[in-house]
Amino acid sequence: MKIDIILAGVGGQGILSIAATIGYAAIEMGLFLKQSEVHGMSQRGGDVQSHLRLSDKEIASDLIPFGKADLIISVEPMESLRYLPMLSKDGWLITNTTPFININNYPDVDILMSKISSLKQFVALDADSMAKDLGAARSANMVILGAATPHIKIGYEKFENAIRNIFKNKGEEVIAVNLAALKAGKDYTEQNS
């Protein structure tokens, strides 16, 4: 078993919480894991990525080779496309559709969405609105993770455990909200594929 995931977004959007949640679930499964992160200058509003690799065998490279990622999980639509060269021919792209616009030359959103829709295998959802509807505006990243869970070969309850553990110091309410966000994402993918 091996799964290689590119996490994408803009600095400050919470891709490392997604990584931590998947990482926790993977460790609970006794899998090997490598997770490469971006720190420093790029974190300041620039594009950020994390390479997350899970396997039942020891992993050699901290970086996923081009064309070998099984999944791109992106909390921002334009950023999801930046990593297409990393995606394998059978790979899935899971992305938020809410754009994060902090540059003047951000592309036309309709063209962006048509580009995403032209991909062979994708899930695109408005995670920001879904999170807001749940009263969990800050949990859009967990909605996106939820939407990715059907494509990660780890039991769903492992992700729930991970959330309970990672947010355990923040109280029951925060845990409940994040679990609801995770479930909303999962349901979306299951109903739309």
Binding site: F32, L33, M41, R44, S61, L81, R82, L84, N102, K115
Partner: protein, 534 residues
Amino acid sequence: MQKLLLLGDEAIAQSALDSGISGIYAYPGTPSTEITEFVQHSKQAKENNVRSSWSTNEKTAMEAALGMSYAGKRTMVCMKHVGLNVAADAFVNSAITGVNGGLIVVAADDPSMHSSQNEQDSRFFGKFALIPVLEPSNQQEAYDMVRYGFEFSEKFQTPVLMRITTRLAHSRAGVQRQEPLAQNALAVPQDPRQFVLLPAIARKRYKLLLNNQHGFENEAITSGFNKYIEGKDKSLGIIACGIAYNYLMENYSDRNVPYPILKITQYPIPIELLDKLYTECDEIMVLEEGYPIYEELLKGSLAKGKKIKGRLDGTIPMDGELNPNIVAIALNLPDERGDAIPDIVAGRPPSMCVGCSHIDSYNAINEVLNTYSKGRVFSDIGCYTLGALAPFDAINSCVDMGASITMAKGAADAGLFPAVSVIGDSTFTHSGITGLIDAVKDNSPITIFILDNFTTGMTGGQESSATNRIEDICLGVGVLPEHLHVIKPLKNQHDENVKLIQTELEYHGVSVIIPRRECIQTLNKRMRDKFKNK
């Protein structure tokens, strides 16, 4: 002992704690910062009274570490690659003095310049100082090598350099811990003149260092970190250094590489192993994450021996970090890629945060400087370097820590008036003060902005040695009180600030203006913590 999920940086820190360090010294710098931060947040460090607060710069850090080693204790000093330039005087001479308590210097290199101004290879510095270099290929090796490095350091009374690169520093993996060791007892060196580098003593110490080289090389065979891996296909032999080894392995399922491999993670490279590979194989490929140091040595200036493939002959690009695909191409293996990046995807460079005080500072500075010809602003290393980008387009230089004040002075000496310097608070205490003294001594006609946000912002908000000291430092080195001003970089103060800047720019002497407002990131964090603790 339990297995932990750690960044390469954190594995180094955890191992230093488990190896019984009494203190860690560092100035923040990507990708090395998380080593010291891990110690600062560690319960184990607190319980054992391990000192860990930030040093003013890498040179003071290196020297303090040498002092702790002098007193018999184990210590670590950490910096980014360019920090080693700052610490170089102390670093190179520490090889001559040798150490007492174990001393490991960690230099974190940044090939591909993710957050740096060059991609210099610290292994050169290790070779230059004639000391052993450890270059772990993964997080577990990083942990194990720190433990080994301290033993090595004390056995040969030598500082040991550990060189890592961004991908190891900032990548997480499972790490198996070892039983923690107690700290060393306080004990000054047996030879009271060991650290006195008078020429007569230095000559003896240098001979000792030269004589140790054979022992260092022998360690690189017996320690077991360097490995000769047999292979059936002798048409090629591969030397894989540090994390380049991982990229090689990634290209072969189940790690079945047909060629003989020399895995190098400890230097000096044992000639014995090198000779075996060279003799056995028709051609040699050298994979180094960084400069082609060993490729060049092996090839020789005349390149009359066997064919050596690597960066120098174009098998691998001359610059930038390696990855599995670059290695695949070098080995003529398939290089499969996904779809190309669509043209509509725009670049998204880093930018100053919404609400950042630097934005207001640059708006005021720009408004005044627009009335002069362009090209007058010498900047420095920090978040405010982003003032180079649109919409500010506000600065004309960024070279090294502290170069803003000194370059403005030099340009002013050449006749550029007004000349402006922009430097952050932490960078000012790191390396700006000495330049300010030069400027005051010559009464150079420059205007210096010390952007004070009470923190070292770019690396994530570490404590700044400058906090609450800047005015006293400036006055102390001779800046005139009437040309020292503190302003508030806020929209509603803009007009007032512009007026003051106008006046000071026209002054023919040293002016210092301190725009002062807390970093928006540390402010937000402080507010969140306050809310949490309520």
